[in-house]
Amino acid sequence: MSTETMPLAKAITAGLRAALDADDTVLLMGEDIGRLGGVFRVTDGLQKDFGEHRVVDTPLAESGIVGTAIGLAMRGYRPVCEIQFDGFVFPAYDQITTQLAKLHNRSGGRIQVPVVIRIPYGGGIGAVEHHSESPEALFAHTAGLRVVSPATPQDAYDMMRAAIASPDPVIFLEPKGRYWSKGEVDLEAPVPTIAADAGTPDPLGTARVARAGTDVTLVAYGPTVATALSAAEALAEEGTSAEVVDLRSVSPLDVPTVADSVRRTGRCVVVHEAPSFLGAGAELAARLAEECFYHLEAPVLRVGGFHAPYPVAKLEHEYLPSVDRVLDAVDRAMSH
């Protein structure tokens, strides 16, 4: 096992490169992904190495990007589309919701549309409007899409390759605020496959216990996993043992893994940047109440964004779930 230390963004680059290397039908499309290497440089160097026909600078039209990617997929290609920022995915929303998500079903399984939509998402980078949003719930509610977000460089590498290998479309949310946080990556790791059973090493469909604990379960994914881990650290100092579950996937949700943890801890706080109102935390709260009704010592609490447009950069740290807000929620859960 040869591991390398690299930032999460570069692990994604490595995943893309590995997929381009392994399979000629893989191609990347998006705005400014060629010579520029993308505004976050995630595709840096790939056009030079794989050519303009496999790393394609597209016209400035997100519906066109996803719509033509669907057509390419119908012809046998595996397009990976980059949406430049979260807030710019909505022009493609119709193609994603009514076409990409449904074509496999519409065709009675005859058509597969293995399209990956990469979206640098989430806040904390001091950006202007539309550059910091977390739209996962808006995709996960629609059947036919997988919606995932990695929290570590290794998962970023593994999940990107798994997403590209997946016959189903994948909304791949890249926690841009964590692009530069580093971790070990085993570049020789096999491409994970999607499995029918929980408990298998399938990062597109199963959660991961990121830290074991006994008193409260913190559930997070993507950018908030680090927040939850920091909170767990702080809680440990106060003598509270928090288990941290990294969901990795919002659709499907690995409820068994979370429920298993909550049955042991009796308390749960879900942390995501997206607004709490109708967010993934709501679904998890509803499911956990169903699955662990008699184990819950307190209601599942949510720490998320507010029901307001993502605020100006000067206020984003008030809006985002902070370690302190997680601790506050844990306090409330513990004192129930």
Binding site: A61, G71, M74, Y77, Q95, Q99, I111, R146, A198
Partner: protein
């Protein structure tokens, strides 16, 4: 309708409506001059079509019309939920379909029954969607015809992307007629307003994608006349994107064949996309749910009834001595047989399995679907056939 060759040239003023026509409404041939360039003119592109070819086209148009009538009747008898007729547009569908190579790929909207017929898609399969039986109905790979697309304009981007895939496969510009592949996107006048259609023109043009934008201007988008969609003739829509355009008489099957043949030639050769406006008329209602008396004049319908594309081809066949009463009688019998087998086939379609709604949501296991399917199966087995429960 004046004939004018070289219809798509940029030099024409917007007020003229040049129209490629090879047969007049009364069935006379139009012998246009050859194009100025080095490519053959439109008349030359149909010169090789003999009596059998013309009769084959006629047959396909008649069978398409019969399919329409039968499907409409099936809807009236409650066997279909809905149906969208192609009546009046048979020339604009059968003509281009005859020009296609087998490997060419067609992306229909929901009204291209003539194209689906010529491509060989099973008639019963073509009604599964309209019966509320299936969201699709056939295998796109079998006849190189994609599925109906109901969200207006979406599939025009798919066609363009597919054509970009064709390019990457090296299946354009090889000169091998069995290999060079074009893609056809079918859509209506109303669809031209959708952003997706314009974006498809952008992507097709900058990539020189081998796609033909086949726009049937049947003059109505449900109740809205084309003047609500565009103040310029539609064949010009592509020009400002870099996609040349041509307007063809959509009720003239030979002209439609010729214009499509030219567009395919461009595509196959790797010279890029073409936008065709086939100027025709939706003789019937938008769908079986529609009532056109609310929004259009009977006189207009009458005018177009006298320009029926099937009658025009019949007139040509007669004028050129290709009409044969025995053949016509055989065709009528064939149409009857089609009607009968369609009725029987549609009626024989049972209801799908209730659990099939969980099929093919994903190609791989998905915990949410698995859990809900399991719940549903238990629930169904416990409560008996849930389908019987009234809401």
């Amino acid at each position: 309708m004046p004939h004018q060759a070289n219809a798509g040239s940029v030099g024409e003023s917007a007020d003229v409506t040049p129209l490629v026509q090879l047969v007049t409404p009364t069935g006379e041939r139009v012998h246009e001059p050859d194009n100025a360039g080095d490519r053959p003119g439109y008349a030359a592109r149909v010169a090789h079509l003999g009596a059998d070819d013309l009769r084959a086209m006629y047959r396909d148009m008649v069978l398409t019309r019969r399919f329409d009538d039968e499907a409409t009747a099936l809807q009236r008898h409650g066997e279909l939920a809905l149906y969208a007729q192609s009546t009046g547009q048979e020339a604009a569908q059968v003509g281009p379909a005859h020009a296609l190579a087998p490997q060419d790929m067609v992306f229909p909207s929901y009204r291209e029954h003539g194209i689906l017929h010529v491509r060989g898609v099973d008639p019963v399969d073509r009604l599964r969607l309209y019966r509320g039986q299936d969201h699709g109905g056939w295998d796109p790979a079998e006849h190189n015809v994609s599925l109906y697309t109901l969200v207006i304009g979406s599939h025009v981007l798919h066609a363009t992307g597919y054509a970009m895939g064709v390019q990457r496969d090296g299946a354009v510009g090889t000169g091998d007629p069995a290999r060079d592949t074009a893609v056809v996107a079918c859509f209506g006048d109303g669809a031209t307003s959708q952003g997706d259609v314009s974006e498809a023109l952008v992507f097709a043009a900058v990539n020189d994608a081998p796609v033909v934008f086949w726009c049937q201007n049947n003059q109505w988008a449900i109740s809205e006349p084309t003047t609500r969609q565009s103040s310029a003739p539609l064949y010009r829509r592509g020009e400002g994107f870099g996609v040349p355009g041509v307007r063809v008489d959509g009720n003239d099957v030979l002209a439609c064949y010729a214009v499509m043949a030219e567009a395919l030639e461009r595509a196959h050769a790797g010279h890029g996309p073409t936008f065709v406006e086939a100027y025709t008329y939706r003789m019937g209602a938008h769908t079986t749910s529609d009532d056109p008396t609310r929004y259009r004049e009977r006189a207009e319908e009458e005018y177009w009834r006298r320009r029926d594309p099937i009658e025009r081809l019949a007139a040509l066949l007669r004028a050129e001595g290709h009409w044969d009463e025995q053949w016509a009688a055989d065709l009528a019998a064939e149409a009857d047989a089609l009607g009968e087998s369609l009725r029987a086939g549609v009626r024989a379609l049972g209801a799908p399995e209730t659990t099939s709604m969980f099929d093919h949501v994903y190609a791989t296991p998905h915990a949410q679907v698995t859990a809900e399917r399991e719940w549903f199966e238990t629930y169904e087995s416990e409560t008996g056939d849930a389908a019987e429960v009234a809401r």
